[in-house]
């Protein structure tokens, strides 16, 4: 597969060379930008990982304490089922959703709504109300921790996806696109050089032929009219040539006019 894609199939010309060069510049710039993005994403990724780890480590103890505070509430409150079922009237706890932007990636973030602290302040008039209050507070605290962990985990997953995509793009640019373009440029350059050489060679050959023809004519003339007369005619031809040159410069005449035409 890579053999076929080593370079693109384009007509090797100066224009395509220019286009290819522009493309190369664009590809290199894109590559460096994407690398920066990948670096930023990775940083945030590692940061989130640390935060998740910390939060999760505190979770087992918190759960244990919460469970135990429930047992304590049962003991001191004797019959708390009334208080509990009464509270089921009020709305469940709400959570707000906000979006953060990290290097172009939107990450969701949940936070508790403002009613949170008010939830815990309902009056309790029965026995053991203090312990029930502690139980409520502990549960709310656990809930807050869980909300935080949930939000960190979704960010983690989203970032992970994004990092994979970005890395794929970076690698693609680095290993496929840029080498292709570079190879194409090299090919075009080599083709152009070869064309130039061919042109040069062709020109040389034509000039050689023309020189030979001129020589042959000269010899023929000398054979006809003698060496001195041939020289005079030559100078005459040269003079006429120079006049027509001057005339051509001042009036832009047609270049195809052959100054030797009226001689022979």
């Amino acid at each position: 597969m890579s053999d076929k894609n080593k370079r693109e199939n384009v007509l090797p010309s100066k224009m395509t060379l220019m286009q290819m060069k522009q493309r190369l510049v664009g590809a290199k710039k894109g590559h460096s930008l994407l690398e920066q993005k990948a670096k930023a994403l990775n940083n945030r990724f590692r940061q989130i990982l640390g935060e998740i780890r910390e939060a999760k480590l505190t979770l087992p103890d918190l759960f244990n304490e919460t469970q135990f505070s429930l047992a304590a509430a049962h003991f001191y409150g004797e019959d708390i089922s009334l208080t509990v079922s009464d509270r089921q009237k009020s709305d469940p706890v709400k959570v707000k959703l906000a979006f953060n932007n990290i290097a172009g990636v939107t990450l969701p973030e949940w936070s508790e709504s403002d009613e949170f602290s008010e939830k815990s302040k309902l009056p309790l008039l029965s026995k053991g109300s203090e312990e029930v209050q502690t139980c409520v507070d502990k549960h709310l605290e656990t809930l807050q921790k869980l909300i935080k962990i949930a939000s960190l985990q979704t960010s983690f997953l989203t970032l992970d996806e994004e990092i994979k995509v970005t890395n794929r793009r970076v690698n693609a640019l680095e290993r496929v696109v840029i080498p292709r373009i570079e190879n194409t440029i090299a090919y075009i350059k080599s083709e152009l050089e070869e064309q130039e050489r061919e042109d040069f060679f062709r020109l040389k050959k034509v000039r050689d032929m023309k020189d030979r023809e001129a020589d042959e004519k000269k010899q023929a003339l000398i054979a006809k009219v003698g060496a001195e007369k041939a020289k005079e005619i030559e100078n005459e031809i040269l003079r006429q040539k120079m006049e027509t040159e001057a005339g051509r410069v001042s009036s832009n005449q047609d270049e195809d006019e052959d100054p030797d035409a009226d001689l022979f």
Binding site: F68, F75, L82, S85, D86, L122, P123
Partner: protein, 347 residues
């Protein structure tokens, strides 16, 4: 009637003997609690409890025994013992024992009302109601679909109906269930107090002291909690105070109190409660001190013969014991041995 010690035993001797017998069967600190707190699993608890009055109450339960199961079975035993006494009783003992159950009835009825208010199926709540608190038309309450229907049913049929007449219909909708319970409790205590005073004799003496303590406990708890949380208006607070008790003379001042120090100042003349509030700390919370006092008074009820005190004391002390067992079982289950000694021991 029973002020006459000669004729008391004719009607009530058997029951009183039963009550004293149950008292002897209560778990003690030395023998029972000290072993229970060293158990490693609830199964060990079951083993130890089989040597006590509880016997094989957990025998038919499937293997991992949870604290909830222990409480349920122990409550069943309490109900059995109570009914033993109740079904063989004659007046006025029957009314007295009924009065004891009214407290549970209030709770059960309120649970059903709350279930309807929150649009839950009342049948689910039925099995969570305390068995001591059922009355014949209890199941009928489940059928009623709105609070108003229930209200009518309660007024007509239930023994606790007259506690509800003193509250307005409006109260059912506006106030929280906690407030309602406190209100009904107040009515109940006042009613019980009047009845007991009517009975006269030794019963009146001992029970009045007990009920006065209950009233004061309610007053102090409500006052203390409402200065902490601050969302109960003062006139409503006053409505919840029963009209008797040691603290009756300072009720008005207590209703106006704004913080704990003020409360302490107000109750300074009542040495017992003042000391209690001063002893509240992180190690001994308010509830524990109240419970200890309650237990002390209950034990005192057993001291005299030929009165109805022992019946009340038996029920309350058994309840406390069940609560203790629950706490110990939970601590063992969750391996929180540090706080396991916070139960309130009785003997």
């Amino acid at each position: 009637m029973q002020s006459n010690s000669l004729l008391y035993n004719v009607n009530f001797g058997g029951q009183e003997a039963l009550a004293h017998g149950y008292k002897a069967g209560l778990l003690t600190q030395a023998k029972d609690y000290s072993t229970l707190v060293q158990c490693n699993t609830p199964e060990d608890m079951k083993l130890h409890l089989s040597n006590t009055i509880y016997g094989n109450f957990l025998q038919n339960e499937p293997s991992p025994i949870t604290p909830a199961v222990i409480v349920q079975k122990a409550t069943e035993k309490l109900v059995d013992d109570f009914n033993n006494m109740r079904f063989n009783a004659v007046e006025p003992l029957t009314t007295f024992l009924d009065f004891i159950t009214f407290e549970y009835m209030i709770n059960n009825v309120l649970k059903l009302i709350t279930a309807v208010r929150t649009n839950k199926d009342a049948l689910d709540i039925l099995h969570k109601c305390h068995p001591l608190g059922t009355f014949p038309s209890f199941k009928a309450l489940v059928a009623a679909k709105t609070v108003k229907d229930m209200y009518e049913t309660i007024l007509v049929d239930a023994p606790i109906g007259h506690y509800f007449t003193k509250t307005d219909q409006r109260d059912f909708d506006d106030y929280s269930t906690d407030y309602l319970r406190a209100l009904l409790q107040k009515n109940y205590l006042e009613d019980f107090y009047d009845y007991v005073c009517d009975l006269g004799g030794v019963t009146a003496e001992v029970m009045c002291e007990m009920l006065e303590f209950e009233a004061d406990r309610q007053v102090l708890t409500i006052t203390r909690q409402s200065v902490r949380v601050d969302s109960l208006p003062k006139d409503e607070r006053k409505r919840l105070y029963p009209a008797f008790g040691d603290l009756a003379d300072v009720h008005d001042q207590l209703a106006d109190a704004d913080d704990e120090n003020q409360i302490k100042q107000i109750i300074k003349p009542h040495v017992k409660y003042y000391d209690l509030m001063n002893n509240v700390s992180k190690v001994t919370p308010y509830e524990t001190l109240m419970k200890k006092e309650h237990v002390r008074l209950c034990k005192k009820l057993f001291d005299q013969q030929f009165n109805f005190g022992p019946f009340y004391a038996f029920v309350k002390l058994r309840e406390q014991e069940i609560s203790n067992l629950h706490w110990i079982a939970e601590c063992i289950n969750q391996e929180r041995y540090k706080r396991i000694n916070e139960y309130t021991s009785i003997y």
